[in-house]
Symmetry: C2
Subunit: 372 residues, 2 copies
């Protein structure tokens, strides 16, 4: 191995007497994909072949295996990096991808957030408190109905109103009509209230369609957009993040539940390295089953200082009750965005009042120092 290493940690199930061989097989699988006896006489393979750096016990018949891989193997490409991390071994159920350490050269080859946490503060103008967001839903409404909801939330003072991630270019709600109507609605409400609410369209489709949606959203004046990187492909996230004609990206975790890539790594690190400015994740205690520790780990990974890469905004979501907002503020501090959806919608005709109470409640809690 002739260049600085990429460190990749896995949990591997193996019997004590078999783990060294299993770790070596994992190493070979991720790059040269040949058994050692078949590498004889192929001197070039050394350019791509890393080494097993560490094997530590991690419970009964489980081990943490750390591989050092040569940077050259990644070709400094976002798709090939994924491949080196977990391409073939994702098909082996005894392996979980736990953690990754990037060298500086590799980090520089990935875009990282365009605007990051600070960018959302600038865009919204919100200071000294967490940001508050909601989603436009349910799927099935027309552009007009969604725009009316957007106006309601904007009047109530929410910072961000985003499309639900299932809003596509539907026959009953075409993308361009929706974006135009919703941008206009929050703009008008802002003129009334003097506060700014960002409307974020959801982009979804094949790469060409998403590029066309992005271009339209930008021309129409959208301040940022949302995508689901695991639906669209993580390499496409990296491409959009680096595009000079792009916008800040809020990342949604749809299809991210692989079960065998640690959530903190996928949502907290990879999403950020690949260019997400903010990352939505399911809050513990909601209708998903992430633990509190996982949620804090994701938030910490998104916000941690790192040379050459902006911190990104943690966005806990997924069944957050209005009543829990102050508790989450205590958990995450001010540097997050609370995404509250269903719990607001349950207010029915009282939607605006409930949204306003949420906004005021958070402002009060932040003033009273519930925030860290």
């Amino acid at each position: 191995m002739t260049d600085p290493a990429l460190r990749v940690t896995y949990t591997v199930r193996a019997a004590p007497g078999a783990v060294a061989e299993r770790a070596d097989a994992l190493l070979l699988e991720q790059t040269v994909e040949l058994p050692r006896r078949a590498l004889r006489g192929r001197a070039g393979a050394e350019r791509a072949l890393g080494r097993v750096e560490r094997i530590e016990p991690a419970g009964d018949d489980a081990y943490r295996v750390t591989l050092a891989q040569p940077l050259a193997a990644t070709a400094l490409d976002p798709a090939q990096l994924l491949n080196v991390l977990f391409g073939n071994s994702s098909l082996q159920p005894d392996v979980v991808l736990e953690d990754v350490e990037l060298s500086e050269a590799l980090r520089a080859a990935l875009p990282g957030p365009r605007a990051g946490l600070a960018g959302w503060r600038e865009l919204t103008g919100a200071a000294g408190r967490p940001l508050l967001a909601t989603a436009l839903k349910p799927m099935g409404l027309s552009p007009r109905e969604l725009a009316d909801l957007a106006a309601t939330f904007a009047r109530a003072g929410l910072d961000v109103v985003k499309d639900d991630h299932g809003l596509a270019d539907h026959a009953f709600c075409p993308f361009e009509a929706r974006v135009t109507a919703c941008l206009e609605a929050v703009e008008r409400a802002g003129r009334e209230t003097g506060r700014r609410t960002l409307y974020l369209p959801n982009l979804i489709g094949t790469p060409e369609r998403v590029r066309a949606q992005l271009a339209f959203a930008r021309r129409a004046g959208a301040p940022a957009v949302m995508i689901s990187p695991m639906l669209l492909g993580l390499p496409f996230l990296a491409e959009l993040a680096r595009d000079p004609g792009g916008l800040p990206l809020l990342a949604h975790p749809a299809l991210a539940g692989t079960g065998r890539i640690a959530e903190v790594l996928l949502l907290g690190k990879l999403f950020r390295w690949y260019g997400a400015d903010g990352v939505i994740f399911p809050q513990a205690g909601g209708r998903f089953r992430f633990t509190r520790e996982t949620c804090l780990g994701i938030a910490e990974a998104l916000r941690s200082p790192a040379a050459g890469i902006r911190p990104a905004l943690p966005v806990p979501a997924g069944g957050i009750r209005v009543e829990r907002a102050a508790e989450l503020l205590a958990l995450y501090g001010n540097d997050c965005m609370l995404l509250v959806g269903g719990s607001l919608y349950e207010a029915g005709p009282e939607l605006e009042r409930r949204a306003r109470e949420l906004v005021e409640g958070i402002a009060r809690a932040a003033r009273e120092g519930a925030a860290v």
Copy 2:
């Protein structure tokens, strides 16, 4: 629900008394993403809201739940279809995505294979026996070294020689130099032997890079290419499959081991519907852990007749020993491509002889009627 349904089957873990509610929550999660009480007064939601069609016991505290979803919810888009199938519920560990039935309208909205199984037969000219393929490896070799290997395999009479899926645009082996050298090598060998061997470059990168690689490969005369749909994003597969400037696509399963999408569905159905002409999958008994039943299920799904969509080529791989080739022929019949890698490379300086024996062994076995 006002239009023909998309049927989606999940296995859900739930107690007997709780399964009806769990199934309804799953239904809501995949489209409208609101609890029923929050849907009151939102008449439009009916356009997007499907129904729970069936709940059947599937073992202790496990149920097969079939949802009927309205086609309109998918927006007839490949990315949004994935979202409706498993977007949010992929984050819920009590749910496995088991099977999908497409209506004709939805199938028509997906590209399906461009050339399919019959296309590979035409391209190779091989009849009355399975196709034989190998991979160029290990990562680390130069274009010249890989081209020499390609020539060796072509002289031995293999039908297809593909890049290993880890061959990217590496500094030590640039994409364009590799493709040029390998195409030239199999062409020259073909003039000597009078047989045709296809060389398939591996495309990997962000969508823009992959498009540039595809354009180069096409101009250089590549007959088909390989991609890894789960690394690049399934929607991008659909885009490439529909592109008039595209080529037949061999799909590699890297990063496909989600554990919570049934392998037969993902590799046998979704890959085909989204446009793969052939699909590589790990053969049972190799170094991955797919069962024989799963492998046969994938092959059957890829080849099954279906209106308006070409059958695709099953490509068992992943630690297939040369000695097992005849057994696999008996298992799959002639309509498959056996991908043998490491087991050939272990022959070292005897590589060409071993490859030739494989070619002759399969021809003999097919003649002797081991095939079905």
